[in-house]
Amino acid sequence: MQKRLKEKALELLSNCTVTRVLGWKTGEFFYDLTPAVFETAEEVEKEFVYSGFSGANLSKYLIQESRKQGKVAVFLKPCDSYSFQQLLKEHRILRENVYVVGISCNGLLDMEKIRAQGCEGVTAVTEDGDTLTVDTLYGTTKLSRNDCLLERCAVCKSKKIVAFDELIGEQGEELESNRFDRVAELEAMTPEERFAFWREELSRCIRCNACRNVCPACSCEKCVFDNEKSGVRNKAIADSFEENLFHIIRAFHVAGRCTDCGECSRVCPQNIPLHLLNRKFIKDINEFYGVYQAGADMDTKSPLTDFTLDDCEPSIVHERGGVQG
């Protein structure tokens, strides 16, 4: 895959289809790849990498990149393509300035999960089918690839690339996913248990804002939390309740637009399962208004910004809220 992507990047640059290529750049180690813009064949040859650690969703960078001079090529995995299309739908990306190379995907790896399985001082990871061979400063371990997947890949919702100019690899299908299982578990808790669960999870938040800044649905020019005149803050405050509310407000704000790309949870330094808040909204939207997947196409109206006579009654929504006060 790496070879094919690299060749494609070189081809698109050399035949002047694009002036820049957005991809992933090599790091100090094998896993610490950085999203980067490549402008020359030399840079691509030297530094372009696609591997199991190319998890970063590049679509949000296109908000800026598509507004620069010349055309930019981008490599999008299936779930990234949903984010891309949702941003197109919101008129945030100038489509004519982007050349999308869709790439098929068999799930990406999570270094945190590899470390959590007792691998310290990891120096290399080799993939061989379902097995990962992990070399460390202290010896070699074999792990199951499935146990090392990013959360979003472990419950992959779709292998379908929904927006592209050309494809590398096979086009896939939407999948039967068990991604709502954990949400259902939380729904089955009593309100007190659920409150305690979220207070505990959110208590670890350090207000680094990585979840917000990486989120393709969070594309406001200036976030309300960054506006010092708004009365709410982007930094930690001596009131833990506002800390918790930050995430809940954010989840509300992206509801109906969140494609469940999972970047929020991937980047959280404190491993807060933020995707569960968004998934709760998606699950509710599916149940109240019929199945809706943000970013799946350009035409379907988002149930939360649309009104139809079939919409579910507010009383039903209210009832579903559980025991009140």
């Binding site: 790091g27 100090e28 180690f29 896993y31 610490d32 790849l33 950085t34 999203p35 980067a36 813009v37 970063a56 960078y61 270094m111 959590a116 310290e120 001082g121 990891v122 120096t123 460390t136 400063l137 202290y138 505990e200 999870e201 670890r204 350090i206 207000r207 680094c208 804002n209 990585a210 917000r212 800044n213 990486v214 200036k222 960054d226 010092e228 803050r233 982007n234 930094k235 930690a236 405050i237 001596a238 009131d239 991937r266 980047v267 330094p269 404190q270 491993n271 807060i272």
Partner: protein, 340 residues
């Protein structure tokens, strides 16, 4: 030198805790290590290091400074300092221990930050030598010996024993009061240290060379054309800043509930758009300038003002946690290309 069998660690923690509040690195609900107030049943983590550094205990993320009560034209000032009681922090790694020197230079220079000072005076530091450093560790670049860390007390651990050496008067005083510790020979830790050194020599980032930054090249580094490329994918989040043991910038803000104003300070990040925003409104307009500030501070400004000491201790947290994997090692190496 003293020692205690590893299976009796809980009795050591209980004995320390009976005298002062004790914090140890323990696993949190997400399975990551965090300095945690010890109570019966709190178990020492097996992780190399905590996600948040030991800095938190001396310079917490949020801290009350003072309260104001405003009624008509009168302003009443109410003391609202978070009380600082004597405490012990166990299991601090060599890198974090060195970070206290860097923080001290900032907070204990005139004018002294009394909030920080009271915690430093109240806090006794017990370090723990590293047996299994990670690939992201590079404390050796800063002359730190992870096999023999500083602190009031230094500890080493193998499968059988925790070894304990008091380094300061405060450390000795605590040691005397702990009857659970038994005497042992100084040479007991030689083998542990030797094994640790063997690994430390093999770390992949050992070749990082910062000497060029020591010469006064402030403007050359500042104007280097690489900053644009280095910062292009930076998300502008505060992860690197908040997991960093040496980042010390803070913001002072007011929380006004309509009856009373609580003035608090909280960690700030130079990666944020409103960092040091003044009335003129043009502090650092793009992420390139914000990004540059963070690394200029650690690699150039701080050493220029502090006898060549860098504002980094090589703990590797930013290497592990940056969402886009940009970090001080990559920045340093890239900038050095321009220095040749």
């Amino acid at each position: 030198m003293k020692r205690i069998a590893v299976e009796n660690l809980q009795s050591l923690f209980a004995a320390v805790s009976a005298k002062k509040q004790l914090y140890i690195p323990a696993d949190d609900s997400a399975g990551q290590a965090k300095f945690t107030l010890w109570s019966e049943g709190t178990v020492l983590t097996e992780k190399l290091n905590t996600v948040r550094s030991a800095k938190d205990l001396f310079f917490p993320q949020v801290e009350n400074l003072v309260n104001f009560k405003v009624s008509s034209k009168k302003i009443e000032i109410l003391e609202n300092r978070d009380s600082s009681e004597p405490f012990v922090v166990f299991g601090v790694r060599a890198c974090d221990c060195r970070s206290f020197d860097i923080l001290d230079t900032v907070f204990l220079s005139d004018p002294v930050d009394t909030y920080y000072q009271s915690r430093r005076e109240n806090g006794l530091v017990i370090t723990l030598a590293c047996n299994r450093p990670a690939e992201t560790c590079f404390c050796g670049v800063f002359g730190i010996d992870a096999s023999d860390p500083a602190g009031d007390v230094t500890c080493w651990m193998d499968k059988a024993y925790l070894y304990w050496r008091a380094n300061t008067e405060r450390g000795q005083e605590l040691t005397k009061s702990l009857s659970v510790l038994e005497d042992c020979d100084e040479s007991s830790v030689d083998a542990i240290r030797e094994a640790s050194k063997q690994i430390l020599q093999k770390l992949p980032l050992n070749d990082l060379d910062l000497t060029d930054f020591r010469e006064n090249k402030l403007l050359d580094v500042f104007n280097d054309s690489a900053w644009g490329e280095l910062s292009e994918s930076c998300l502008g989040c505060g992860t690197c800043t908040f997991v960093c043991p040496t980042c010390q910038c803070y913001d002072v803000q007011d929380f006004d509930n309509g009856r009373e104003v609580r003035r608090f300070r909280c960690w700030d990040s130079c990666m944020y758009s409103d960092f040091t925003m003044m009335a003129h409104g043009t502090n650092r307009p793009t992420q390139k300038e914000r990004f540059r500030q963070r690394f200029m501070h650690k690699l150039v400004y701080y050493p220029n003002n502090n006898n060549g000491v860098f504002g980094c201790v090589g703990c590797g947290r930013c290497l592990q946690k940056c969402p886009i994997h940009m970090n001080i090692v990559k920045v340093t190496k890239k900038l050095k290309e321009g220095m040749v």
